[in-house]
Symmetry: C2
Amino acid sequence: MRFKKSTQELQKENFIQNLSYDCVIFGFNGKQLKILILEYHNTGFFALPGGFINRNESLDDAVKKGVKNRTGLDDIYLEQFQTFGSLTRSDPDAMKRIFKENDMDREIPDWLLDRFISISYYALINYDKVTPTPDELSDSIDWYSIDELPVLMMDHRKIVAKALQVLQDNLEKKLVGMNLLPSKFTMKQLQMVYEVILGEELRRTTFQRRILGMNILDRHEKLFQGKAHKAPYLYSFK
Amino acid sequence: MRFKKSTQELQKENFIQNLSYDCVIFGFNGKQLKILILEYHNTGFFALPGGFINRNESLDDAVKKGVKNRTGLDDIYLEQFQTFGSLTRSDPDAMKRIFKENDMDREIPDWLLDRFISISYYALINYDKVTPTPDELSDSIDWYSIDELPVLMMDHRKIVAKALQVLQDNLEKKLVGMNLLPSKFTMKQLQMVYEVILGEELRRTTFQRRILGMNILDRHEKLFQGKAHKAPYLYSFK
DNA sequence: TATTATTGTTACAAAATGAGACAATAAGAC
DNA sequence: GTCTTATTGTCTCATTTTGTAACAATAATA
């Protein structure tokens, strides 16, 4: 959970109480699976991007808006995967600290110190098209490799683990590659996406045969990379 | 969404606002896949069993408690599958009507007329061990076959459809049969569970070979049903 | 022109699945 | 008792899918 607006706008009446969302935003940099993590200024607190649900907007719209603000992207592939509601997951002390370090500890709305149930989404985005944008609470936001994450606040590590597990389960049925890759890509790139998500190496020939057999790709021109070997074809999703 | 307690106890301070849960409780009667549907008295409103989350209990505990009250069962297999949060899903007029028909329209707490975001679970239970129990708002609760459901309130039909879809997706990886069948069952019974969930017929020999190949079953004595043919073995999950 | 690394494709083996056949066997009919 | 009936457990063979390796094609470089 985190703030989208200045505290002026964080008025209790505007938002649904005790409810937040968190989003695991996946990107693929060509080699590794990455997620966007933000850091609250002067606290050493790392967290998933998130926010609250406005009383007069739908849950999905709230999340879309939040992710758009962080990434600059419209039409993002979003999937809701779990709602976390344990009694111990919230951390009012951390919340106080964040406000304090931003010289806002007099303004902290009391509803932010209450218990929160968090609805979690994951997003799949094209890494290269994103300009990660921190918000007014002056935190940074950056890509972290999935296997080199910093220690995260509250239960956010658990949320990431669940997101990855669901992503793995959905890998076959949901055309994950389409959203993590540019519109044209090589078979090798697609295979690497599958490999980083599954965390295991795949056999090149079997993978190629299976994917082509699905009949979901169009083949385009070759990609000449200036390397001393045969040039691969470019593909796109139909 | 529905009520667990008399309105005396439905005080705003006790519950998390704007948040409810709904539960699709699946059972298998030997032939059909059934779910528990309740009917509000004198309204013709059919709905999924559900409830609210107490401020000092975890989300999972709230749902466990609710399902236990309706079924009498402890240790229920529960799986959270989706949170519904559209702006249009709530229906304050229906809520008023329900209270009115129960001669409680003066007592209706105003927070019940507000927007609700609903966290949905499905449960898998042993049909024969359940005594469906209506609550103090004097409604009935009964089993309905999945393909003969009455018209449901609000978006509950959509919730059921999603539950069934997720159940289908989870069929292989989650040992669904274990929770819908008695501890000892025949191969035929297990196959029928798979068939009603998938909505398609399966080949007997292939099914048997596949399930036995998984090595998840123990074979026990034969079951003599008084029928003029070979008696099947009983199995249990390891 | 030869070398190198990677690619697309083919070939064959191994495993999984589809489809059918068949013997075994409880209980009822005679 | 013996025959009939319906269902079960198992086996066989064909088909499909997957695992594994081999090999020729080919961009760039030496």
